[in-house]
Symmetry: C2
Subunit: 231 residues, 2 copies
DNA sequence: CGGCCTGTTATGTCTAGACATAATCATATC
DNA sequence: GATATGATTATGTCTAGACATAACAGGCCG
């Protein structure tokens, strides 16, 4: 364990235990330098990482203070369905329903009018049967390689994630009743509760892909492991 | 802008643009030192932050490499329902249904047998009507103040977040049909698709609270804004 | 050929000191 | 009394150099 890590963990545990409550002024850097017998840069490194974790705030001249808990934020892992389903139920398979090249005409899910888009729908299967329905658009003006990819062999999600860098994304998670079409493919009655994840992905401001995934509520859920309030 | 930030942004944009693809060996630290005319510690700081963001990997002797995109992870904001509902629909109100002190007997949602727990159920109301049902347990052995808190005035979630530090949490997000009891309180037919969030929170290994929140699917969804794969 | 040792190299961490910046406090001036 | 000024102080960032560590490459020897 490095010195900086040791300092960080020391402070962290004092905050977690409540010994240093929100608003408490932690010792000045030069005091910590004396306490740990190290250079100020090392103390600074520990404090910087605590700021990044949202545990403290540093104010010039005033000192560093234990942060007030703010909004809870979770780091939600949204893995490749490929990997996730393989891990949970085993026997992953992607069934390609449709793959057609279209020109966007400004529909609700579409890119800007005139964009060349690859429209793909398919089903993610686990061992016990269908798990999710996917309806995806890929901007082939931005991702020309997508034209030649074979999505009957590899799900478009895992293909994209390994070949196309992206910088921004947005998710919407909601509960819906299965539509007639989705219900038929997922082998459930129409109206069955399903988890719906809509995702839009950009690279440097340019839209790359948008996808609507509908999960059988009884076969899938999202797990978020947590770190306390970042920022 | 600091020198370290400038270096970081330079490298980031070369990765995002695809100029430096996954697996590419970025210039050695000593080369970057020459290029930017700064100290190695400054280059190191920039690279360290890129590692934290998951954009590169550093290997001793070999150099630093652009990381292969891995698992997508989102930073999912799970705010106080109080604040979230106020912001979206206005007119937030928490209706306390039940608040009783119990001893845990190792049920499915419970703490370890013998723990003193405060069992609270209630409804979160927005302007347009009920939004969510909440069923919560609070470990009063760990949070004795909860005994005296008035949860008809303040929802237990916002009370806890502002008074009790925590170090770990776990979320499970799924879609379910509303149970008869929940349906009655949310003013919807039984079986209506609802978003269910289960959360367990710990402080240094000791369980603090667990909660099951059931949202009307048509009145609420979760939004996650994104940064590419953070470790 | 295979295993061991050694030198080289690039990252990882740290030191001691420097200057910049911003916030605060006390003082001096209007 | 209100406002401007300057000293003080703590953080923010940086430098130049040092040593530690891990991994690789090559040579030596059984």
């Amino acid at each position: 364990m490095t010195i900086a890590e040791r300092i960080r963990i020391d402070i962290e545990s004092r905050i977690a235990s409540g010994a240093w409550p929100p608003g408490y002024r932690i010792p000045f850097e030069h005091e910590l330098v004396v306490e740990y017998g190290c250079a100020r840069a090392t103390v600074g490194k520990a404090l910087t990482s605590l700021v990044q974790a949202g545990l403290i705030e540093r104010r010039r001249k005033a000192g560093s203070f234990v942060a007030y808990p703010h909004v809870q934020t979770a780091v939600l892992a949204i893995p490749d369905l490929d990997a996730a389903i393989s891990e949970r139920t085993g026997g992953y398979r992607f069934e390609l329903l449709k793959s057609s090249l279209e020109t966007a005409d400004d529909g609700p899910q579409d890119f800007a009018a005139g964009t060349n888009q690859l429209h793909i729908t398919g089903i993610h299967h686990g061992k016990g049967g269908p798990v999710a329905h996917e309806d995806r658009l890929i901007n082939v003006d931005q991702v020309p390689d997508a034209r030649d990819a074979d999505f009957s062999a590899q799900a478009p999600g895992s293909w994209l994630v390994s070949f196309v860098p992206w910088t921004e994304a947005r998710h919407l998670i909601s509960a819906v009743g299965a539509s007639a079409e989705v219900a038929a493919h997922l082998d459930i009655p129409k109206g069955t509760p399903c988890l719906m994840v809509e995702r839009w992905t950009w690279r440097s401001g340019a839209p790359i892909t948008s996808v609507i995934q509908t999960f059988r509520g009884d076969r899938f859920d999202l797990v978020a492991t947590f770190a306390p309030e970042k920022r």
